[in-house]
Amino acid sequence: MSASTNARPTAARPAGEAPGAPEFVAEGGDWAEIAAEAERLGEERIVVNMGPVHPSTHGVLRLVLEIDGETVRELRVGTGYLHTGIEKNMEYRTWTQGVTFCTRMDYVAPFFQEVAYCLGVEKLLGVTDEVPVRASLIRVLLMELNRIASHLVAIGTGGNELGATTMMTVAFRGREDILRIFERITGLRMNHAFIRPGGVAQDLPPGTTDYVRELLPNIRLSVKELQDLTVENPIFKRRQQKVGYVSLAASMALGLTGPSVRAAGLPLDMRKLQPYCGYETYDFEVPTRDYSDSYNRTMVRFDECYESIKIVLQALDRLDATPGPVMVADKKIAWPAQLSIGSDGQGNSLEHIKEIMSTSMESLIHHFKLVTEGFRVPAGQVFQTVEHAKGVMGVHVVSDGGTRPYRAHFRDPSYSNLQSTAMMTEGGQLADVVVTLASLDPVLGGVDR
């Protein structure tokens, strides 16, 4: 629909609205007619609705802005447009199946949910120390690659929203290399469900470490290219510097974590504070800046990409030197079958089929019980935090001793971070709202779950 047919004051207004308040509907096109009409009416206070379907709200986020000219006076954030009930659904599946659900929350950074959830379940089971080293190495490898991918998307889409399509294409090119690695390891580009309670689903296919080493220079090049395009770019700097500022005290109070709090100067990183998956054994820095605005948040993301590459290289060397199982030895928890590729596609390995179908009835029963019924987890509750690409991710898992989670709650960093949008944007320009939002990098799948 063109603006000319739609962009005129309409008589219809929702019940409860102040009588006499005119309402305009615009769907793209030229707003000249609306502007002229608004000017004629002489209204000072204009309420503009942005989203939930709007390209620069990073998904289905709704912003309600009260503007005075170009200045934002008040901003409200509306969420819930992508609520899929993942947490509730997890209560109706086995502990292992839960991974399939939580990977879909923040779909740009799926491995963080998988790892956080599995670490929580392992803590409940009391098998944290029995998870094989190789499984932790694979987890670290996937998480760090995922961190780069997530940051590339954050920076690239942020650039796209400023009109710099090149930034997005460069970023997505770099992300593509990472997704190829994911595809090779897990078989999927997103929604992997590869990390399982007790380890990971499958060992790395042969030649993976070399393949990652082969692609890493490309990934580094994409990050570098993006950096070259932005760091000293006068347009970029003028759009991003001193926009969306938040103080350290405010970000602590508002529960704002991740690149935003590190840009304010606090090296708050769960990988260093309360290490998991053996992060204490890796050599890496926590990049910080001294002023948390959109520009510095982007710079922190760039620095983190290089730190992640450092960790990935260390993990690759260790993976070459550490053969071994990728799942706990306890057969009451470990998934019984190894997958393999046959002539008719992927499935259980032939040896396993042979064993359960023709040699061992007990193996068949065990396989059947573990796959359909699942394992039981002793009653209790734990909270596990990991450093997500967007901040501190927390998982609260409660067990009632059954084969399914009694409750699984995810403290998604995007959700917490979004709370500070209003504080960062009120009093600023309308055009800066988009920049600020992009610098927070919310993913609505994680926000609404």
Binding site: G126, V382, G394
Partner: protein, 269 residues
């Protein structure tokens, strides 16, 4: 002949769990309650029963409605959460609880009444707080220089329908960046009076998390600046993550067979 009749009768008796197994269930629950009560130190704890039993399961497979032919139909298992811990709690847990008790005493409060119980489980500290004092406890944990829990990682609700009088639990996870510590506060309220004071004044970042918990569990956080739903539409009736709220879903027909929705499938609990 007579032998076979006897067999039939006993088989029929086993197949009808009826009243006998219900008695077993009650007995098991009562004994588990007694076992649980031994772990609670005697003292003025608001006269409330410290109930850790959260569920009673019957049979081996948790199947209801259909005949359980495994012979384990009469099996009753009680599910209890970890009980209150005895001192010493270990590590820095004692120190934090001691300081908290000290601060509460200074403020003229009875620490025994404010801190209902302390549970140390799987290396994590959980402090159960009487609901009217949650904000006081949060403020003490945030502001005292030896505690400094600056960051609240949100609140999560849990619904325990069998924990009568304390059905709805709100679980707060606090983190101290200064001392690199995490602890958990748990507050319970009855389903009939689902009110808990807000902690938004102390931790502004808990704003949306409390809204989410209200939305999903129906816990009213008194004093919250704008307790609106975050996930469900504003006019939605009910709170979806309560245990009595159905998952929903429709049966799917595939090649003549009908696959029921996930919450109606035969499952193992």
């Amino acid at each position: 002949m007579s032998e076979r009749d006897d067999e039939k009768q006993s088989a029929a008796g086993a197949a009808k769990p009826g009243a006998s197994s219900a008695e077993v269930g009650q007995r098991a629950t009562a004994s588990a309650l007694e076992a649980g009560s031994q772990n609670i130190p005697a003292g003025p704890r608001g006269g409330r029963t410290q109930l850790e039993v959260i569920a009673t399961h019957r049979g081996l497979f948790g199947v209801e409605g259909t005949g359980d032919t495994s012979g384990f139909g009469g099996l009753v298992s009680t599910i209890a959460l970890p009980p209150a811990s005895e001192r010493p709690y270990g590590g820095w847990f004692d120190e934090v609880v001691d300081i908290l008790v000290e601060i509460l005493t200074e403020q003229g409060l009875d620490p025994e009444a404010v801190l209902e119980k302390v549970v140390v489980d799987r290396g994590e500290l959980t402090i159960f707080v009487a609901r009217e004092h949650i904000d006081t406890v949060c403020r003490a944990l945030r502001d005292d220089q030896d505690l400094r829990f600056e960051l609240c990682l949100g609140v999560s609700g849990v619904h325990y329908p069998q924990d009568s009088g304390r059905e709805l639990h709100a679980v707060y996870q606090l983190m101290s960046v200064t001392h690199v510590r995490q602890l958990r506060l748990e507050v319970a309220c009855p389903d009939s009076d689902p009110h808990i004071p807000t902690v938004v004044d102390t931790y502004p970042g808990n704003d949306w998390h409390e809204r989410e918990t209200w939305d999903m569990f129906g816990i009213v956080f008194d004093g919250h600046p704008s307790l609106a739903r975050t996930l469900m539409p504003d006019d939605w009736v009910g709170h979806p993550q309560r245990k009595d709220y159905p998952l929903g879903g429709i049966p799917v027909e595939y090649k003549g067979a009908v696959v029921p929705p996930p919450d109606n499938r035969r499952s193992y609990r």
